[in-house]
């Protein structure tokens, strides 16, 4: 009997240790999510509390389906993420390979690489709002002083340029996540397989493609997982840089949610949208986490 008790206690210990974490997440995230799921089935408006109990079924979702503004924002968000993440990965890989080859001052470069990760997104937004400002921004000032243009380029006013500026800010902020982790992967890479491949007659590209890249992938997946946790931070950047403008041309899913929920006070509708965006993020995280788990399974043999 005593033994059964001790073994049950042993099984209980990790649960007790995890209990605070689980409880916190349930209270602060899961409970509100259940609540927002409920409100997404109501026409809830902040100004009229009684509407919370007025169930209208899937009407919010049905309205979403036919809401052009929503779909445009949705498509723009997906496009925004696709571009930003791919550019971040490729740039990060390039930077990691570059820094890996630089021997003098490497530590300094690595430290500088870390910094954008620590910039508050709101600051990144502000920083580039300042730099891309058509009137006083350093970019236009520089271009004009160099004689490359005599006009004030409307970086944040023209729809296309504004989107570009936002993606630029996002890439500036997040490329380091990839660069730093891929660089850590390069440092951790065992030399033997690389040398074996060279002896076996692989050229530089083949070594990279068949030996280095597979080894780096788990590190890339860590970076992707980390990034997927906070892709929505782009909200902060857009909020400060353009506020979704001009005329909604840089509206992302997240800024649209804020507008519908808080500015228009249509909480039910906003919650339906929020559920779509949550699903997007969760799927994204889940996908890359699975990739990470699968990748480290075959890495296990190597380590």
């Amino acid at each position: 009997m005593a033994r059964i008790l001790t073994s049950r206690r042993a099984a209980l210990t990790p649960l007790l240790l995890l209990l605070p974490a689980i409880a916190t997440m349930l209270f602060v995230v899961a409970l509100p999510l259940v609540f927002s799921l409920w409100t997404s089935f109501t026409p809830y408006r902040l100004t009229r509390p009684d509407t919370l109990y007025d169930v209208i079924g899937l009407r919010n979702y049905i309205r979403l389906m036919s809401d052009a503004a929503f779909w445009v924002a949705f498509g723009r968000t997906v496009l925004f993420l696709a571009i930003a993440l791919n550019v971040e990965f490729l740039l990060g890989l390039g930077i990691a390979l570059l820094i890996n080859r630089i021997t003098w001052g490497q530590r300094g470069l690595r430290t500088i690489m870390m910094f954008p990760m620590m910039f508050s997104p709101i600051l990144v937004g502000f920083q580039f709002k300042f730099i891309f400002n058509d009137n006083i921004g350093i970019l236009n000032n520089a271009l004009q002083s160099l004689g490359l243009t005599d006009q004030a380029i409307p970086w944040l006013v023209d729809a296309r340029l504004a989107m570009f500026s936002i993606i630029f800010a996002e890439v500036w902020m997040s490329t380091s996540v990839f660069a730093i982790l891929l660089l850590a992967g390069l440092f951790a890479m065992p030399r033997d397989p690389l040398e074996a491949a060279k002896v076996d007659g692989c050229n530089a590209w083949q070594v990279f493609r068949h030996i280095m890249l597979p080894f780096l992938m788990p590190f890339a997946f860590i970076a992707m997982t980390i990034r997927s946790l906070d892709v929505a931070r782009a909200y902060d950047i857009v909020a400060v840089m353009t506020g979704g403008g001009p005329a909604g041309r840089t509206e992302l899913l997240w800024t649209l949610i804020a507008r519908v929920g808080y500015d228009n006070a249509r909480m039910g509708q906003a919650n339906a949208m929020a559920y779509v965006s949550t699903l997007l993020s969760v799927l994204f995280t889940w996908y890359f986490f699975r990739k990470l788990v699968a990748a480290r399974r075959y890495m296990g043999g190597a380590q």
């Binding site: 005593a2 033994r3 001790t6 073994s7 042993a10």
Partner: protein
């Protein structure tokens, strides 16, 4: 000081049993080595004695006291780990004194006992270093020092030498033996290296797949292996195993060669039985350059495929009855491949095993 008793000890992870109800009595002051290939359950058994693994069923007694449900700290044992497990953030002095400090011993006692252990192990000069500043052998010594300062009922060693290079391993082996002679504790020592087992143990316990295959003094398990597994595991290079069948005239090998039945086993061989003849390489040698050839023997002609000169002896690889056989030439003599040698098999030292069960006929 105390003996250790295991009764029907079982360890299972879920449905997988890794230790199948073993029984073992370890006497006071005895040096017992658990040896076996990896995955045989020897480390799990040791960890159960230490209290680091829960036991699934059975009993463990240390000094007569049932310790099944006691945590490690209440078992009054000390353990030396494979990677030494020195506390990296403490000096050697603090590492040695940690257990006593936890037990609430006064400072003077801790200092005195640490000094005593440091003197025994030659660590006095190193007391203020951290583990990172020590060599492998020194770390090993600190790990042992940490064990002896507490004057425990028993020492447990978990493959303590496997991280050292070959030369250092030999040195530390001798030190462990000396240490045991000096402090004379009960020791349970786990290793996969049969040389360590042979050289250190008062008694060897050979394990496989969670069972004890044989228990005995080093010479007992070497001279009278209970089964083929033990025969192949103890002794290096391993014992040659030649399948044969018993006939009226002797033992017929696969190629038709007939060898006489060793006299001491004559009464135990049933005609027609499928057997395995076990002969150590040391017991097959060219006439005149082997061990003292006084006992009974049989001659075979061997063609050398490969010869490995080791200085005072050479290890020879040749084929007998369609099977590779290792043999030895004693003396500093060069043997070349292709040489044909008439070799003598020392049958008085040969073994016979039942081919089906693997058990030695001697035991039956």
């Amino acid at each position: 000081m105390a003996g250790i008793t295991l009764r029907n000890l079982v360890k299972a992870y879920g449905r997988v049993r890794v230790v199948h109800g073993i029984d073992l009595d370890i006497g006071n002051h005895e040096f017992v080595v658990l040896v076996g290939p990896s995955g045989c359950g020897k480390s799990t058994t040791l960890r159960m004695i230490a209290g680091l693994e829960e036991i699934t069923s059975g009993e463990i007694r240390i000094g007569g006291r049932l310790v099944n449900d006691l945590p490690p700290r209440k078992r009054n044992i000390a353990m030396v780990f494979q990677n030494y497990a020195l506390y990296p953030h403490m000096t050697v002095r603090d590492n040695l004194g940690f257990g006593l400090k936890i037990a609430g011993q006064p400072k003077e006692v801790v200092a005195a006992r640490v000094q005593e252990a440091a003197d025994i192990l030659g660590l006095a000069q190193l007391l203020d270093r951290t583990p990172a500043e020590l060599s492998g052998g020194q770390r090993q010594r600190v790990a042992m020092g940490r064990a002896i300062v507490r004057h425990p009922d028993a020492f447990l060693f978990d493959e303590p030498l496997s991280n050292l290079d070959a030369k250092l391993r030999g040195q530390m082996r001798a030190e462990i033996k000396k240490l045991h002679q000096k402090v004379n504790n009960t020791v349970v020592y786990v290793t996969h290296d049969q040389v360590e087992a042979m050289t250190l143990a008062d008694r060897i316990v050979i394990m496989r797949d969670g069972h004890i295959e044989q228990t005995g003094t080093p010479m007992e398990v070497f001279n009278r292996p209970a089964n083929i597994f033990v025969a192949g595991f103890i002794g290096s290079p391993p014992m040659n195993q030649l399948p044969c069948s018993a006939e009226a005239g002797g033992l017929r090998l696969a190629d038709g060669t007939v060898l006489p039945v060793p006299a001491r086993l004559a009464g135990k061989v049933r005609p027609g039985a499928a057997l395995i003849l076990g002969v150590r390489p040391d017991d097959i040698s060219p006439e005149g350059s082997g061990l003292l050839a006084t006992g009974e023997g049989a001659m075979v002609r061997l063609t050398v495929d490969i010869a490995e000169p080791l200085g005072m002896e050479s290890l020879l690889y040749s084929r007998l009855a369609g099977q590779e056989v290792q043999s030895k030439v004693f003396g500093p003599r060069l043997v070349s491949p292709g040489e044909v040698l008439d070799c003598r098999i020392a049958l008085d030292r040969a073994h016979l095993f039942d081919a089906a069960t693997g058990r030695s006929l001697e035991a039956a």
